[in-house]
């Protein structure tokens, strides 16, 4: 069994550092916040491994509320309890809400300019590319997965089929496929234990 790469992880030194890290993350997120979150938390701050980040992101997706807000509550809460969660949450929300309200108070004067719509198209195109790059990176996080490669491929392919091609509601796909995948993973973990009592992870 391959061993997992050893990375030295850091931890946030203070609640203020949590606030500013999530503030920076939020201010760079134009529609593709997952890619920025991965850059900030995994590569720059080194608070999480890519593996942990991918798993946390999955949990953040299935809980109600915006995924990046759930992620901030999870990471903040892990180090400093409820006050850390609150600091990370305020970091995500404070400045973006002030900016968007300032824009709202100006709305009408320029909201329908053609250049603005063009800029939005350009931003969306870049975000789509950034998210595709994240998918390329994430594939590495699945190398140590309890499921077989073929089983993983089936779940990935079905998700894409249901969400991107059939356009089924996200909630149903996530819960439906998620439960089957979780069940199978649980079963595999149990089998691994009984098969490889002597082998350590």
């Amino acid at each position: 069994m391959a061993t997992q790469p050893i990375t030295t992880l850091h931890r946030p030194r203070s609640r203020a550092e949590l606030f500013w890290a999530f503030n920076a993350l939020a201010l760079q997120g134009f529609g593709g916040v997952i890619t920025i979150a991965q850059r900030e938390l995994v590569e720059r701050k080194k608070w999480l491994t890519l593996q942990q980040f991918s798993e946390d992101w999955g949990v953040a997706q299935v809980l109600p509320g915006p995924n990046v807000i759930n992620l901030s509550l999870m990471v903040g809460g892990r180090y400093f309890g409820w006050s850390g969660a609150a600091c990370a949450l305020f970091g995500i929300l404070t400045v973006p809400v002030i900016i968007v309200l300032m824009l709202a108070s100006l709305v009408g004067q320029w909201a329908d300019a053609a250049a603005l719509h063009g800029a939005m198209r350009g931003l969306a195109a870049v975000s789509a590319g950034m998210i595709a790059a994240l998918a390329l990176r994430m594939s590495a996080a699945m190398r140590f997965h309890p499921l077989h490669g073929a089983q993983l491929a089936v779940f990935v392919a079905l998700t894409i089929l249901f969400v991107a091609i059939f356009r089924w509601p996200l909630v149903g796909v996530l819960l439906g496929l998620g439960i089957i995948s979780i069940g199978l993973t649980y079963w595999r973990l149990n089998n691994q234990d009984s098969d490889q009592v002597s082998e350590s992870d």
Binding site: G29, G31, G122, L170
Partner: protein
């Protein structure tokens, strides 16, 4: 803004709005955007506080400004607040009522889901060595991976190849750049916005 129906946000109607947003919070699995249709029904169709165009501009504003896309919620609250200031004849303090409306909606939307996420993830973190928790986190991984790929695809899927080949080209170039280099993501976003504003994509 302007031709909306009367609203007294400082009173029973404000309370009703708060309760309505509270009830939506826990349904927002996948992000606040999934409850946008219901907010549209409530604010635009049922109460006619806002016009359809105003509602759409709130969503667009949230998309072009940084931060989680949930920021359309405080923008809608701001618009309703300003509408309320006009109803009540508090024309000098429009912005104050706007901020009040924004905070009222934001708080109601964020509070219930955040409390649930915090409680659930703290519990899971304490029991992170339990097999069921490991299976839950790892089992979601292939589905999340499929979702990331789908998201990237769907952002451009409304464009046909003939009208959108430049967008697809830009996305592909960005994906490769982000995958292979460590270029700053804001730089790419700025490039995309400029290309869009100049009408190239």
């Amino acid at each position: 803004m302007g031709q909306g129906a009367e609203i007294w946000l400082w009173g029973a109607q404000g309370w009703a709005l708060f309760l309505h947003m509270l009830s939506l919070s826990l349904m927002a699995i996948g992000g606040a955007i999934v409850v946008a249709p219901d907010i549209h029904r409530y604010m635009v169709e049922e109460h006619q506080w806002l016009s359809h165009a105003e509602f759409n501009s709130a969503i667009a504003l949230a998309q072009i400004s940084p931060g989680p896309n949930l920021t359309f919620i405080p923008v809608l609250g701001w618009m309703v607040g300003v509408q309320s200031a006009r109803t009540m004849g508090w024309l000098d303090t429009e912005w104050l009522m706007g901020v009040f409306g924004a905070l009222l909606c934001l708080l109601a939307m964020v509070l219930p889901s955040s409390l649930l996420t915090y409680a659930a993830t703290q519990w899971a973190h304490r029991h992170r060595d339990k097999k069921a928790v490991i299976a839950f986190r790892k089992g979601l991984l292939p589905v999340v991976f499929g979702l990331v790929i789908s998201t990237s695809y769907l952002m451009n899927a409304h464009l046909s190849w003939s009208e959108g080949w430049r967008v697809w080209l830009l996305s592909t170039a960005v994906a490769l750049t982000v995958w292979l280099t460590r270029v700053h993501l804001l730089l790419l976003l700025a490039l995309g916005a400029s290309l869009g504003a100049m009408g190239w994509v």
